[in-house]
Amino acid sequence: MTFRRKLMGVFVLTVVLSVATVAGVVSLVVRRSFDKADDDRTAALVAQFRREFDRRGKEVNHSIETIAASDAATRIALAINQNITDYGAYLNDAKATADSHRLDFLEFADDQGTIISSAQWPAKFGYKESFFPAVAGSNTSAFLKQEDLPDGVALGVFALRANTVGDKPLYVIGGKQLDKDFLASIELPTGMRTMLYQNLGNTFSAKNLIDPSGSAQSPEQLAGLIKQVQQQAKESVTVIHWSSSSDDDEVVRAIPLTGIDQKLLGILLVGNSRRAYVELGRHIRSAAFLALGAGIVLAVIFSSWAAARVTRPVEQLADAAREVADGNWSAQAPVTSSDELGELAASFNQMTHELLDQKERLVQTERVAAWRELARRLAHELKNPLFPLQLTVENLLRARQQSPEQFEEIFKESSATLLAEISNLKTIIGRFSEFSKMPQPQWQKLDLNEIVRNVGRLFQAQLHAPEQSAIECKLELAGDLFPIAADPDLLHRALSNLVLNAMDAMPQGGTLILRTSRQGGNARIEVSDTGKGLTPEECERLFTPYYTSKAHGTGLGLAIVQSVINDHGGRISVRSEPGHGTTFVIELPGNMEKVSAATH
């Protein structure tokens, strides 16, 4: 990944993280705000419930006070004090009185708590009021009470008053039911609702849960919350997931309602829909995603510009460095700023300048060294034949002066020697001349295996010459080798040089292996011997012109090979260890385009 892309990535990531962080913080703040608003609204609703409860209690209190003071109640009270036990005449009084005062419950009971007349259960005459002893003395405010009815039990706000016209009081107990109408009378903010659970035991019963419309929907979902309140008798809150959609989630707070004896009689459930919160959260998320998308686009654009601005000098520097690596030591990086990158570019330019100077100095040094080497080699090469020439000529001169009779014979011998050495000199000069005049390859399509076979065939006789130890030549040619474009003569010469080197390396005999193979898109030739091998230092200098490790070499053979291979766009390397033979590896590209270029 390029530096520019990395920089862009960092910019984009920074923007994304920033937007996500802001969205998260906003969501958190909104959630806390909503939770607080929920709490406030629920508290307000509970307060309203209590006010409504108190209002009803006052209404009931007022109604019961009025009834207790009414003529009807006084008539019954008088009957009680007159010990009239036949209450049949008053059987319907409670019902009629309750209807006129819009009470759901009303009972007249004597001083013993015996029901004389009951509006909610007329047939209950003569029975004792179950809660009578507990509240007979507490003639105060309204209270919550469960009332037995023929078809079940109802929860209501009750009040109790006594009519004391004589010694024996008449108790008037009445109230209003806490039912769906009561729930409907509570004004609710949008998204809130109330439900009432009538607690008739320690187990949950769905039919005991009502809402303003009647039976509550899916009451089982609230069973856990209600059971929790039943067990702990304290306020509890939970989130109810009514469906798979979070829009339908509802925070439900359960508030226990207790009677005079602190017994849990009912549970008020205040539901607060989370729809608004969920929708706001969704809007925040949408806005965050929108901002994120816009931020990413802007970040890409900005980061592209910024990264380009930042990385352009770096890229120019990299290009310059790449040019230097490719050999253009005069490459310069433009200095576009005065910041660190500008300093870096200036330093680079200075470095390349100095490198160039050093290179020139090195080239000069190498050239001098090469000339010296060449001179040394020429001197060495020429000195060898010159010395016999000198000796032969001196011998001729000495023979002419000292032994004229043998001069003819000596002359003939010396002439032969002179000619041989002169020939030797010519050979030496020819080699140098050949090295200096390496021809350019004549490209043609050829089969590398065939070249290798020809080389092997060429040296077959020398390998098995009787005057030297036998060398076995092995050809390991790849069957799938593709044809390449090359100059067959040059390639033949290069391979021949390598084979000659190998033969020189194996004076005691050995095995010469010529191997071809396919290496990706390149053809590979290996020439291996089982000679004494080379040291690492020898390997390093092996392709240096005029360097030789042999006693009679010119040091140009491998230089010529390397020159040929380079001219073919290939590469030559050597792999050797002392005592384990040497392997020269040549890698040649296909170069087929050279053939078509040559054709055209």
Binding site: D86, Y87, G88, A89, L91, N92, W121, P122, A123, K124, F125, G126, Y127, P150, D151
Partner: protein, 457 residues
């Protein structure tokens, strides 16, 4: 001075005498029956047919039938069988063949004569099991089993003689002039009725009118006769309303939907019967205006009713309950529009709960137990039991005569079966406006409208 005094005394005597004569004349004019007027009667019961043979039996149907149709015989308030359309009757020695001689010169409301063929056809329609044949002057009825007091059965409403053609014709004192099933029936007096024309010109029945609406209409002077529920009778009387009531002629009872399936269930049913405080119900709910019923038929009718105790016995009820072991919850179904039935059913629930029994009221389903109200026919015990078990849907009973010993045996067997638990005997009560004169109600709750007349409103 003395003379002046005597003249003054003479004038005063004349004035006093004149006043007395005038007052006597006015009083005579106020109490003397007079013809004309329409008697307006309201009823909560609604009939969709006036055919006496159609079910269900009700006091309204009985009274309507008496106005439009007649039976061969009638049973008077003392329980004696009196001739009506039949002049006389006799039976074979074995009591299976009965012959009734019809009165002469009887006509239907359209003027057509009452023939023995019409009488036979009418009785065959109402009693398919009877073999009824007609003779020139009467009919003969052959029964499958001997019945010693068979004529009483002919006094039942369903045995009223009807000529069924395009419309129903009877020999009663009134004839139908307007008929809207379930809503209204207007009767017009027959001028040619054999016992003389009724004082009333018309009787206008408004049917299916709720009791509350009846009471309001009565107070507004829009109706002359209304029904009053038994529990409201005493209160209506104390409020100054003019009421007329029959003897306790309606049975309120609990009827189990099926026979007891085990001895344990028998005990549970007995426990339920013993737990119910009928006496308190009668005292509080009816203000002692009915009877706590330990028997199906009222004591005033049979004479042996007191043998079957109506007292509650919670101790024994609890004992039986514990002996019975596990018990399921019973449901009591009742007519939701009947307030007395509702209170009684709820009271039974409370009483049963005291005994450890689980009983609930229900309005949506028939229930394991039904709270029923059956008007008694009050003819004789045999006929009454027959009608009673028929009304309750029980198996017919075999009772050849109406002597008290047989009747007691039958009733005892019925009660021991624990299929039915008698609760109360109720009176039939009507409220009558002040302008209605001569109103009489028989012991069985039927009206004697023939003598009713209307004073000025």
């Amino acid at each position: 001075m003395q003379r002046q005094e005597n003249m003054k005394r003479t004038c005063l005597r004349w004035l006093a005498a004149s006043s007395l004569v005038l007052a006597a004349m006015c009083a005579s004019a106020a109490t003397r029956p007079r013809y004309g007027g329409t008697l307006r009667i309201s009823s909560a019961t609604a009939l969709n047919s006036i055919d006496p043979a159609d079910a269900p039996d009700s006091l309204l149907r009985r009274n309507l039938t008496r106005l439009l149709f007649e039976t061969l015989v009638i049973v008077d308030d003392s329980g004696t069988i009196q001739p009506s359309l039949a002049d006389s009757w006799n039976s074979s020695l074995d009591g299976q063949r009965w012959q009734f001689i019809l009165r002469h010169s009887l006509t239907f409301s359209d003027g057509s004569p009452l023939t023995s063929d019409v009488v036979a056809a009418s009785l065959r329609k109402a009693n398919p099991a009877w073999r009824v044949t007609s003779q020139a002057d009467g009919i003969t009825i052959e029964l499958e089993t001997a019945v010693s007091d068979f004529p009483a059965e002919l006094s039942l409403t369903r045995n009223a003689i009807v000529r069924r053609g395009n419309k129903l014709l009877g020999t009663g004192p009134f004839v139908v002039s307007q008929w809207e099933p379930l809503r209204r029936l207007v009767l017009t007096a027959r001028d040619d009725y054999r016992d003389g024309r009724a004082f009333l010109d018309n009787i206008d029945f408004e049917m299916g009118k709720p009791l509350r609406d009846q009471s309001i209409a009565f107070d507004l002077g829009q109706t002359d006769v209304i029904e009053i529920t038994p529990e409201q009778a005493r209160r209506a009387a104390t409020e100054g309303r003019r009421v007329a009531s029959s003897s306790p002629t309606e049975l309120m009872a609990l009827l189990f939907a099926r026979d007891a399936q085990s001895e344990a269930e028998q005990k549970l049913r007995e426990a339920l019967a013993l737990s119910i405080d009928r006496v308190l119900m009668n005292r509080v709910l009816l203000l002692n205006d009915g009877d706590a019923a330990g028997s199906l038929l009222p004591t005033w009718m049979t004479g042996y009713g007191f043998v079957f105790s109506a007292d509650a016995n919670q101790v024994r009820a609890k004992q039986l309950r514990s002996e019975a072991g596990l018990a399921r919850t019973w449901t009591i179904g009742y007519n939701n529009e009947d307030m007395l039935a509702r209170v009684v059913a709820e009271r039974i629930v409370l009483n049963a709960r005291d005994a450890g029994l689980n009983v609930q009221t229900t309005q949506s389903a028939p229930g394991d137990i039904r709270l029923i109200r059956i008007p008694l026919a009050l003819t004789n015990e045999r006929t009454e039991f027959s009608e009673l078990v028929s009304a309750m849907g029980l198996s017919p009973i075999k009772l050849s005569s109406s002597n008290a010993e047989n009747a007691y045996g039958v009733e005892n067997a019925l009660l021991q079966s624990r299929r039915v638990i008698p609760l109360l005997h109720l009176r039939y009560v009507v409220g009558i406006s002040a302008n209605v004169q001569g109103w009489a109600i028989h012991r069985d709750g039927s009206w004697d409208v023939q003598k009713v007349w209307l004073s000025g409103r």
